[in-house]
Subunit: 183 residues, 2 copies
């Protein structure tokens, strides 16, 4: 089938993306709570980020996820208390604590990750591989666009602990141009 869908106007598409993304956000927490009760959605996310980044600073996490530094501080403290995260003082700057997932953290993360991935896989089981790849690309691109939009008195502009970065590097290749994904 060439293009059986009706021609979507730009507005319609934007509208839908907005609605669906919002709905998703709403459910994410509920799902997270069910899939890995131990780790809150935020903790999970932060821990995952640490794993991907091979350690980074609390401030970067806060910036990247638009969280207050106090929130990150507490989440990290919790993760540390669980033995999932380790703080290493930065020799170059005594103020910063470089955060690293511990072996236990790695493991816990992997477990939670697997469970979530299993669910996702079920959910996406009937998707053609190509669609999956494209969907992933879209999400990455969306996230990338996020960082470049000022939005407000935001953090995130300075985030160097960017998941979008690692994402595009690992999956979309070196800066996949928007047009390149089309068609």
């Amino acid at each position: 089938m060439p293009t059986p869908r009706p021609a979507h106007s730009r507005d319609e598409s934007v509208e839908t993306i907005q609605r669906e993304l919002t709905a998703f956000a709403r459910r994410a927490r509920a799902t997270a709570a069910r899939v890995h009760p131990e780790l809150s959605l935020v903790s999970f996310t932060l821990l995952a980020h640490l794993q991907e980044q091979q350690g980074c600073r609390a401030t970067d996490l806060a910036a990247h996820y638009m969280l207050d530094k106090s929130t990150v501080s507490r989440q990290v403290a919790a993760l540390e208390k669980l033995g999932y995260v380790e703080r290493r003082p930065d020799p170059d700057d005594q103020r910063v604590h470089v955060l690293h997932p511990t072996a236990a953290g790695h493991q816990a993360l992997e477990a939670a990750h697997t469970r979530r991935r299993t669910l996702l896989k079920e959910r996406l089981a009937d998707w053609p591989e190509e669609d999956l790849a494209r969907f992933a690309d879209y999400l990455v691109r969306y996230t990338e666009a996020w960082g470049t939009t000022p939005l407000r008195g935001q953090a995130g502009a300075s985030g160097m602990c960017s998941s979008a970065q690692s994402a595009s590097a690992s999956i979309a290749g070196p800066s996949a141009a928007p047009a390149s994904v089309s068609r």
Copy 2:
């Protein structure tokens, strides 16, 4: 460029989708708070749903968004207190309150909507229209898949106030088959 991206394995794609969706969820609230401080993300979502559906019951909202009915009850109460929502007793069943957005609610929603959409549009400005449409379709399909996955003692299976439904109806045409979007 034909297909400059590296071949993504299914796992990689699922992985990315998971990560990005999670990250998005994390930011959604913060963004919502900045874009429309008046309406919480949940309130906004619920109100939007009421608008789309031309009214529905609290239980349906709870089911669709995986929220506890108490939560919905409170959110709705808040919306009502703001004058954004109106409850109409159902003549057929005295237990149910059919919820409808008021004119003020409509307006507030529209305003918030516009602001969000503006942001989104900026963010997606350089996306080819076709990619937008496809991205929207993917999201809708993802949401649809959501409802069919048991997951747990979930609600959502009985939700007849389905946004995915309306979404696919309004944008993807009458049941666009998954395969139809591919390629």
